[in-house]
């Protein structure tokens, strides 16, 4: 068996770390994450509070763990929605071709032109800030990304012999898309999903930093960062820990995505060899 690329192993390790934190927080955190104890704020790291407490005396470890859960949940749901809709559109465009394909892809181009943050701010102005709005914004921005990936990959598959055979056998375009095209474009789509995960985690952190994502008391790395900003003089560690978590998560998913592409994309395998 071929040796796995280093970035895949490193990425998977970091992702497992963050995902582990998130999963454990479902059943256990060292302290209730929202429990305030203003008398014990800015406590240094100790046996009781492993990374100390924040400006309201809440346990930092517990907050980071629940923050990981929120980040992962937002990224997962948003990317899943974006990927489902995007891949469906891409497959449709590829299957139908002609003016429909052009139309769908031009719409996707327009979608690309929307910056995630500005789009989220617009949604917030209309619906008020909440985590759901953040998810909707990130999901929406993901649709054109996946539409492009799916269409480009599908167009290649459509020229293959087995697809020709299926068409000759009288199978409909939709059935071919479902039975033959979709399984064959799964690899690039999954790679793209992993990479978009990193983007989504970053976007969620940015939105929460701006107060447009998770609302208190639901902890979020982005909001922890923004709250720690004026405390840099008093307690710099409060900005460092969530910042580190974001770095680990984003780096982990990016590396994992790269690694997955390396092992699944035959062209890259050939080039490297």
């Amino acid at each position: 068996m071929r040796r796995l690329p280093v970035n895949l192993i490193l990425g998977a390790t970091l992702v497992a770390l963050v995902a582990g934190m998130a999963l454990v927080s479902l059943v256990w955190t060292p302290h209730p994450h929202a429990l305030m104890n203003i008398g014990a704020r800015f406590a240094p790291a100790s046996d009781v509070h492993w990374l100390g407490t924040d400006q309201l005396g809440r346990d930092v470890v517990s907050q980071l763990m629940v923050g990981a859960r929120n980040s992962m949940a937002v990224a997962f749901i948003a990317v899943l929605i974006g990927a489902s809709l995007g891949v469906t559109l891409g497959l449709l465009a590829s299957a139908l071709g002609g003016w429909i394909e052009d139309f769908v892809m031009r719409i996707a181009d327009i979608g690309f032109a929307f910056p995630t943050l500005l789009f989220a701010i617009m949604l917030t102005a209309v619906f008020g800030p909440s985590l759901n709005i953040a998810i909707a914004a990130i999901a929406f921005i993901n649709i054109p990304v996946f539409a492009r990936v799916a269409r480009a990959s599908a167009n290649q598959i459509w020229t293959r012999d087995f697809v020709m055979a299926a068409r000759a056998a009288g199978q409909s375009r939709f059935a071919i898309s479902r039975d033959h095209i979709l399984p064959n474009i799964a690899a690039p789509v999954i790679v793209q999903m992993t990479i978009e995960f990193a983007v989504a985690i970053l976007a969620e952190a940015a939105l929460s930093y701006l107060g447009l994502g998770a609302q208190p008391p639901s902890p979020s790395w982005g909001r922890m960062l923004s709250e720690a900003q004026t405390l840099m003089y008093l307690a710099p560690q409060l900005a460092i820990y969530p910042g580190l978590c974001i770095v680990v998560a984003v780096l982990g998913f990016s590396l994992l995505g790269d690694g997955l592409r390396d092992v699944t994309d035959p062209r890259l395998v050939r080039n490297r060899a």
């Binding site: 929202a34 400006q55 107060g211 208190p216 900003q229 004026t230 003089y233 008093l234």
Partner: protein
């Protein structure tokens, strides 16, 4: 790559050291503002920042208030009050012009006040003008105002933003291009960034004004505010929003930190017109759920004085009512259960001010401990004004009331965003306004505070401190804040 970057940085630092900051130039000052208003017209919008920047500087009233809170002449150089306290005769300064060149005469006073008390008036404080029975220009520089009943606060109220004198020619555009008679004229407003004033050389006291240009910079983010001060882009930040950074500035010899009290009562407002707050047991439960010590420590880093009612602790009629509803989650829970709303889900809409945002998170936890499930929504200031203040579409909000003598808010009836209707208090407030004996009025003010606290109309939190951070050498700002105005006529930068 690294060495090139390092050299570039060193060069940049050397250049920066050679070029003095713009703010250092004599006669110019850059002032940080936390809040940016959506309009620049104090006669139609109660936003505090309008009064801070413009009242006394660009706009002037008949009277003004000095830093001790005493009424002083401004556009009126003197006045006489009849024996019965009903007729006021104001003598105006002569030769005053608006910034657009039109002369300011008695007719403008009549116009301004008639506009403010008209049926369709947009005045944010109509109560000021409500006692006026008639107003007439006796000649170009004399105005006579007849009241229907004595009003102890009349001269004081005339010094406030809603009572400034505006010109008929410019009134429609004041919201974007304010035109007044003050020592500074409006220069430009770049929304989201800055507002510039320049000295009005035609002003009657122009010789005494040291500043040639004033730049207000809107910086909502505490971290950005602190960075701008440290980079010496700002000379002053009179309403500094981050108490946790005070020790840092106190330790820095480049800055003076001045902390004073303000007229700003910070309250956890409850929508009294809406379920479940129509039930006094619920409002009392909320009062019992609050732990002011924790809120002040956690949100204000100890820099605030708790209040138990709606009156500033430094005022002459203050009574300490902070013990009326001691912090007791169990009692709060019991009251909520009695009222049948235990476990109810409510929304707290918070304006974008650090005191509100930070208090909100702590209060959310405290109400949670008493069995109320509160969801926080942080909203923009424009949204807050529209949805919370005008449309009364909220359960809880947190807001500082920075107007002086604003206990009368509770007499404003169900149309005000409190949604609070109380005929007994309306009668009491009418009596307070018309009482001319100081001691009797103070006693009635004490009674009013007790009444409001007894009704637990809102959760009363703390008096907003004014944390001012000034570059050393910036002098002449007010030392205390009897009204939320920032007169710049005596300010100098050395």
């Amino acid at each position: 790559m690294i060495s090139i970057t390092a050299r570039a940085l060193l060069t940049a630092a050397a250049v920066a050291a050679l070029v003095p900051a713009v703010a250092d130039a004599q006669g110019r000052i850059a002032i940080g503002m936390q809040q940016e208003p959506t309009s620049l017209d104090p006669t139609s919008d109660a936003t505090a920042a309008i009064n801070v920047m413009l009242t006394q500087n660009v706009y002037e009233g008949l009277t003004t208030v000095d830093q001790s809170g005493a009424v002083q002449p401004q556009l009126a150089r003197s006045w006489e009050i009849s024996e019965d306290g009903l007729t006021y005769r104001f003598h105006l300064h002569e030769g005053v012009t608006f910034h657009d060149g039109t002369p300011m005469t008695a007719a403008d006073v009549v116009f301004s006040f008639d506009r403010a008390r008209a049926e369709d008036s947009t005045s944010p404080r109509r109560a000021t003008f409500q006692p006026i029975e008639s107003i007439a220009a006796l000649d170009d520089h004399t105005v006579e105002i007849v009241l229907s009943r004595p009003d102890a606060f009349f001269l004081f109220d005339l010094a406030q933003g809603p009572a400034v004198i505006v010109g008929e020619a410019s009134v429609e555009t004041n919201a974007q291009r304010p035109v007044g008679t003050g020592a500074f004229r409006f220069d430009s407003w770049t929304r989201g960034d800055r507002l510039r004033l320049v000295k009005n050389a035609d002003h009657r006291n122009a010789d005494a004004v040291a500043l040639d240009a004033v730049e207000f910079r809107f910086i909502a983010e505490p971290a950005a505010a602190s960075a701008a001060l440290l980079a010496e882009e700002l000379d002053a930040f009179p309403g500094f929003p981050a108490p946790e950074l005070v020790p840092q500035f106190e330790a820095d010899p480049r800055f003076d930190v001045r902390i004073s009290s303000t007229e700003g009562e910070v309250i956890l407002a409850m929508n009294n017109a809406k379920e479940p707050f129509t039930d006094i047991r619920v409002r009392r439960a909320v009062s019992h759920a609050l732990n002011r010590g924790e809120i002040i420590d956690g949100a204000m880093y100890g820099y605030a004085i708790p209040i138990g009612s709606f009156y500033p602790p430094h005022g002459p009629a203050h009574v300490d009512l902070t013990d009326r509803y001691p912090h007791d989650p169990d009692q709060a829970r019991a009251l909520l259960e009695e009222a049948g709303v235990a476990g109810a889900s409510l929304t707290m809409r918070l304006p974008p001010f650090p005191y509100a945002q930070r208090s909100g998170e702590i209060i959310q936890a405290q109400l949670g401990a008493a069995g109320l499930d509160v969801r926080i929504e942080s909203v923009e200031w424009g949204f807050w004004l529209e949805e919370v203040f005008r449309n009364k579409n909220y359960d809880f909000t947190i807001i500082a009331h920075t107007s002086p003598n604003d206990l009368g808010n509770f007499a404003r009836g169900p149309d005000y965003f409190y949604g609070y209707e109380d005929e007994e208090f309306v009668a009491l407030w009418d009596a307070i306004r018309t009482e001319t004996d100081d001691e009797t009025r103070l006693e009635m003010l004490r009674q009013g505070q007790r009444h409001i606290t007894e009704q637990a109309v809102h959760g009363f939190l703390f008096q907003l401190p004014a944390i001012g951070i000034f570059r050393t050498g910036v002098e002449g700002f007010w030392e205390s804040q009897p009204v939320l105005q920032l007169p710049l006529t005596e300010v100098s930068v050395n």
